[in-house]
Symmetry: D2
């Protein structure tokens, strides 16, 4: 049983999981986690079969989270699971994270953190109280050049921020939304499974997160116009949120699931009085840097001109692209440093605070829309 | 004196004009205009010197528009100036265009058409009454692939429109806006010279125009949040307008003059239930076409797969880029067809109607902002 | 009759000409030429009809070049055509240019300058003897960022050159070459009409020219492997030429007319010991600049950071693309300065010397290939 | 001890290895390998320390390959290392691979496979004789869109191939080559450590491999011009090889380590009589597809329109980029299928045959250059 590596458990992430592979590859990436057990599937037989697939001790394949907590707590401290990744359907994130935190486990949680902001705030308080590490997998913050952008803004490369614009456009829901039978059955549009929001809950919040992540400034208020496309569809599939940052800067968050043909087109642009920075997730190895009166600069990972933060988030020499799995790996790496009480950089992994901010944003957007596009404070 | 070619006069456009060269090159481009005179400069000596430079009959260099109208009206119909390009400062567009229309001249007018929507409506009525051609130089509509986009949408290539997003980001005002002395003197921020709006009046209206141009659908209402950056600056330099089209489709117009480092980054994206189309002015020879479940397509000018409208707007074989001057040439060409009463395609040149729409949009945006982000109908 | 403007005649360029429009737009662009006559078409009726179309004095529509020369020479010096653009089929460039030079006219000549290097050398000597201006329309040298590249290399921006790579890939001959009937009739593959070479004569020579233009260094020797695709096709449609510059630097010229799907994909990359520069014709407003250990820079036209040479070749502010017609306009502008004996920058227009170099390159490539890929000196 | 997973050993790849992390991440990626031991470092203490770092049984940290072979062969078949990754300096690939093959281990070998073609041929014969799997890590063949390109060509998407052009440009040696002290000490330019060739041995061979990989056609002969830059430098740092495929098609391989500013700019373009395909490693998620008379298509991973081969090489939905580590993971996955005697697609991993072809190419290039640019058969 590993002492150096963090002993990791998984809730969800079994054979039928799409996201499971991302977390496992990320956990393996820097050899600082060892998967030792989990409740991989609501079906216990499938759960055990998955444990066998991973060649784990099948005794540590648990029927549910309660069994996991009980059994692992009973193990000696040096064998027990230390951290748990929560990869379940959205509505289960909160109850499971809560139990895990209260039981003293570190948590790596898929997004959205909860269904309501109140729940997220509760988790934040629990994390504080139980002194565990809580990482929320806003994966895009793990890309080296997103981190370079954050660092450059912090270092004053663009001066005082004066405008922000973040976008997340997808088109995947287009073939579904126009078919009544499909749109009434897909879980993404079912409030019971997906929560209060589809488009902003799932992707708008990523664009929002990139604004707070790269600028380090909180969004104070929002005004949003959403679109559900059909009256029988309860959840937003498109919308725009005007925003105002704490320092008075204006900007916007644009999100869509009906931008037909778009894949995961998340982009962030931040302009200051000295320059501007733009980053596009689908071309993650390029960071565009504008400076007054100078040629545009294109920064790429692996060069000495990058910050230490970006350098630590890059495994290889310039010109060999790293992708989404590598970004997730960087987040696991950052959380691992925190778990092992080693020094880590600000932004090394998104925290429960990011979760609270995201949920407040989503609720603010929904409230603003419901009230007919009024400003809602989300601090 | 040309009979075939349209005899063209210019108001403004002399030695100190930046925009003059664009209009003259455009007028020459298809050999269907001949510049024969004008009031090129408020300084009459400079005006005559410019006429000499162009080797025109100096008798047709006029001290002002009234002299031009009087003298030209006195000439035989087959020698008289037929059309006049108005290239003066913004606040003079309306009075000069009005005089010209009332005197029976065709008008090619720089943007913005007027300072107020009421004036634009008046011009529209005058154009109707006097049966002249009025072309407004929304130059970007002259690019072949912008026209191809319009045609494809009309032909159903993306199905029913469900989302529109247009942007015009510049950064040029950034070094000016932060300096009190500069911002209080630049004409762009002087309401007397520039009109009611800087950012939306100058560039936001272009983005708006591209939406109505490519979709063929009018914007019904707007809700806008603008930014002046400083309290002593009366005009917007940045902002976002949420919009709703007549058919209920939602979208937005984003504009900025403080997006530091951006040049003329105007982009338009339109998504429908069958596909999507995107066009970016700084890379005007590429039109991106998304279709559900198919590889992305990149269309380029000069190919037989393009529409007749795009083909007519392209002078050369594929792979040899045409640019802004060529786009303006296409607008002159379209206006020339109308002047000569030859058949022309819908969209061959922007009309006084585009001017009315643009002014209503600008006033709607300003009203919405002033009232604290409320919806304003602009039909 | 213009005194300031250069009185221009055209040989060819009538209704059926593809290239005519490019030359006319270029001639109009800076208002320093006036088209006054020509032998626009081998068919005299068509020639006169074209003169009427341009509203010229039909007396100056000539049945052929001899008539043009005779009649114009008989006119007073201040009315006579000063410069003639030669836009005829390739095999007529040499005899017509020769007559014009000998008669004292300035010549603007389409490419290829001649059919043989010997003819080009003869023209060079005649130009010297008769002290006329001779401009060869290697149009790509007229783009602002190609000129910026030349200037930066001259100014040492990339240090000592150590590698050059130029490409011109097209695909247009693909549907023709595989059809025996078509390939035996197309004039491009007919040695009598097209000369000794198709691919290198038509486009390879452009790539070669960009090397000598941007580096300012002559190519000393070549080794080439060509492809005719079919035994019954006498002319190359594809090939690669290894080259060695005078200073020992190695490089290559790649050209193809069977790169199916390519349009006018001409690119030039030059690497030195301090940096590198790359330019791509189909995206002409971007110049990529590499420097050891620094972020990549993207230069664009219209900025103060560009050289005076690039600035003079740009008509408008940054972010409004200029294209091929504008590039040709710049060449006419440069030639106009020379004709008017005004100062002009090195590289302002390609000269008869470029023509000689190009023909030597083409003949060297053909000889190298014929002899089975041996090195051939082309100095 | 894993039964399902392949028990993997490593030669080299310890703390000081750059490439080690790529192999380990790749081995973990699909959970079909388990690293159980190795000779990670020539220094035995470091080797053991690395085993401890990976939390392996330190008894399986071996002082050298002979010890590894002896000890592992002594273990029961179900515990013994099954496959070994060879990550040592270049000159050790051959002797170590040879010993491993002869001892019955499967081998995953870094590039170059050997120092001479004769050695590669010997390995090929040994692989045949000992019936082991031999995977050569030509990593770029693991990218989904490189595989899609191979499959589309095989499926006739571009018709009959008529032109190939592959490039690998780097600039990293530029700051070294011009400094006599540095160039005489860097191992890449030391024939004893690096082999017969620097530029073509290290990267030109990748470009060559992409040609044979994507087209499925062997290169028959080569003619090359190389550049060593300095007389005291024995190895090429730049060069071009003209090539002829077995079917008569012509093309070229361009490679440079002095293309200052370039990173890992490997590109492959293949043109046929029906279309063309281009792929660029630094933007690996885009495959450009030209078809006669149709808009350009851009294919991206994760879409149903891709081949099964590309689909199997993609872990995630469209729009989330995968990179170099994922490409290496795909090669490990393919080799794993072969080791476990499961069906795998042609091209699922590069084999010893690719190694033989590569070494013949390198030797052919060197011979051609030495003899003054003559054609050399490499079949």
């Amino acid at each position: 049983m590993s002492q150096r590596r963090i002993r990791l458990g998984l809730i969800g992430g079994g054979f039928n999981s799409f996201i499971g592979v991302v977390h496992r590859v990320a956990a393996y990436m820097f050899e600082d986690y060892e998967i030792v057990g989990g409740a991989f599937d609501a079906n216990y037989d499938e759960c055990k079969r998955f444990a066998e697939h991973l060649e784990l001790d099948v005794n540590r394949a648990y029927p549910d989270i309660d069994a996991l907590i009980a059994a692992e707590k009973a193990l000696p401290a040096d064998q027990r699971i230390e951290a748990v990744s929560v990869l379940t359907p959205n509505f289960l994130h909160y109850p499971m994270a809560k139990k895990l935190i209260e039981a003293g486990f570190h948590v790596i949680c898929e997004k959205p953190i909860t269904i309501t902001a109140a729940e997220a705030i509760e988790l934040e308080q629990l994390v504080e109280k139980h002194k565990v590490v809580f990482a929320l997998t806003h994966t895009y913050t793990g890309y080296p050049m997103a981190r370079q952008m954050k660092q450059m803004i912090a270092d004053g490369a663009i001066g005082k921020i004066q405008k922000v614009d973040a976008q997340y456009y997808q088109g995947w829901i287009n073939p579904i939304i126009h078919d009544k039978a499909q749109r009434s059955t897909v879980w993404r549009l079912d409030p019971k499974k997906s929560g209060q929001s589809s488009c902003f809950g799932d992707i708008g919040v990523h664009a929002f997160n990139m604004i707070e992540y790269t600028t380090g400034i909180e969004v104070e208020s929002v005004l949003a116009d959403l679109d559900t496309m059909y009256d029988d569809n309860p959840l937003d599939v498109d919308g725009t949120a005007l925003i105002r940052l704490k320092n008075g800067v204006k900007g916007l968050v644009r999100a869509s699931q009906i931008a037909t043909g778009e894949e995961n087109n998340i982009q962030i642009a931040v302009y200051g009085d000295k320059g501007g920075l733009k980053w596009v997730q689908e071309d993650p190895t390029y960071l565009t840097y504008f400076q007054e009166g100078k040629p545009v600069q294109i920064l790429k990972p692996g060069h000495p001109y990058n910050s230490e933060f970006a350098a630590e988030s890059t495994k290889i020499a310039p010109g060999h692209p790293e992708g989404l799995f590598d970004a997730m790996g960087n987040i696991y790496k950052g959380a691992g440093l925190a778990i092992r009480k080693k020094p880590f950089k600000n932004g090394a992994f998104p925290t429960v605070r990011d979760g609270v901010r995201g949920m407040k944003f989503i609720e603010g957007v929904l409230e603003s829309h419901k009230k007919g596009q009024v400003w809602v404070n989300i601090l």
